[in-house]
Amino acid sequence: MRIALMTDVHGNREAFAACLDHAAQNGIDRYVFLGDFAGYGADPGWVIDTVAAHVERGAIALLGNHDAAVLTNDNNMNEAAAAAIAWTRTQLDASQRAFLAGLPLFIEEEDRLYVHASGFEPDRWHYVTDLYAASRSLMATQAHATFCGHTHVPALFHMSLTGKFASFDPVARVDIPLNPQRRWLAVIGSVGQPRDRDPAACYAVLDDERHALTYVRVPYDIESAARKIEAAGLPAILGARLFEGY
């Protein structure tokens, strides 16, 4: 089965649509959305409706910290992010809010764990940016492979039988074998707001028969996405950073 892993769409319709098109042309059997559908971008409603339609057809969707922030009032985000959350609240209808409210924090499927931020205290939204954070997540669960997002920077961590941790910067379009001999934690880059200096949308494909993970980069219409952010009156930085991928 080929599973598309997409995360951190953040209301970016153009990037999300480009990734979904790409996936549809590449024999995807199943979709897993790792959260953060809202925040930053100008089309949170469309993104949530699209995800909800996929969930009705069997896709998995998880709750992200921005989605949670839309539903509750407490958040400790930076100014631009908080402004985007406040604006997003005004855009969502009751059914869209209900959809977000029904999302789980993590899902385990076979020997895989899907979670938005980290397997360690999923509701605390820890960032997996280094070996230490990755080891905490890997030690907290039994899963052979963990898939998460949240950092917007693609990364792959692994642990050998002897307990050694290491990290690797994945190269797009190269099949990486997730050997059963070791445990893996794959941070999937962001669809809607990449921050690894590559402005193309990022997602990944897992082939669970071949145990192969492939990161994919999809160019999309950044101009339109940025223009809509500006038109919505959202902070200018949120549009500008899309061009830099940072």
Partner: protein
Amino acid sequence: MDVHRLQAGQIVDGFTLEKPLDPGGMASFWRVSRPGTDMPMVMKIPLMRRGEDPLTIVGFEVEQMILARLTGPHVPRFVAAGDFERPYIVMEFVAGRSLRSLLDKTPLAPEEVAAAGAKIAFALHDLHRQHVIHLDLKPSNVILRDDGEAVLIDFGLSRHDQLPDLVAEEFDDPVGTGPYVAPEQVLRERGDPRSDIFALGVILYFLATGERPFGEPQSAAEWRRRLWRDPVPPRRLNAKVPPWLQEIILRCLAVDPAERYATAAQLAFDLQHPDTVPLTARAEKRERDGRIAVLLRRLRTPKRAPRRRRTVSGLLANAPIVMVALDLAPEAEGLREALATAVRRVLATEPGARLACINVLKTSRLAIDPEVDEHGRNLHLQRLVALRHWARVLPVAGERITYHVIEAVDLAAALVDYARNNRVDHIVMGARGASPLRRLLGSVSAKVVAEAPCTVTVVRTRESVSEAAAG
């Protein structure tokens, strides 16, 4: 699966064990068969028990990962791999002899050393092209197929530059095989394809002299010695080693990778063209360096390799072999100028390029061609002189340019063969006009473009085109 209890006739995942082969240090080998598969196959089963001996475990993991994505005639074809509970790799059984079988006959004649070396270098180049550095090249890991091609085996310590380096992550000490490990590997650098060129230099040295340049050091601490102590020049051990071969071997064994051949294809090129090897002081070196020089090098040796970020394919792309085919006919003067301009442009963007200037001396199919012209001058030599004259204006260092006059009946076929045999990356050649006759007969350049195994740039002058239009 208990390796020690396997028996002939037993079936493992659909493969029938036929007979055991000589075991290696870390694995046992069985000839296996499977209904529907004609290819002779071998099953490699690591000698390990769960949780023990990380080198065997990681080595198996790495080999499984890397062999599965390698293709081509210079590696055994991958067939299948088992899982962790029942680890094995099934691959093509390569018929041939191990390079080790040549070691009993050392020292070999220089031509034999060069021939075997070129085959191994081509195999290495093919491996590097696929993003993989072997990092444990040694005679027991090279099989010479019956058709003469070299096949590389055992990728347990190898590195794929687009995949996680499981070996580096597992071990704090350098890994490799004492006599062959490159100086930068001793410093734990595992990202340089020129490490394999060093190991091939050790093999060439061994074949040419019967001795190993750095002996057989047992501990990693002893491996470090090669960072400052240079080997005895091969010609001192075997007077029959010609200067060109010593030049090649010592260049491969340079401590600084930047002083070695940039690519295995460039090394193969020199091994195939002894006459054109540019000789330096290395070629005539008779003694090892003096104590002071060695001491200074030792003091300057870093504890660790400097951190560099580069990719195997990037290094290969920066050091292409560019071949320019030159028409020396008097009427092609304008075209030759245009070719010089085109080559200059290529060299400007590829400063690591190596340039081979070729002229084909057309011979007739039946008659015996004269070797001299009507004035008694050697035709071959005249053409070499003309090639050198043409190239004098090019901004390329002497050791990066070579000249070749080849004799052939079919021009285009000769150029294509040359490009293929020398792993040429880019052909630059001229096209004369586009006359109706040429269109009918098919031009040399069109045939080269259609059949060449690499990029081809065809150069035209405006004059030649308008002449053809007028005619």
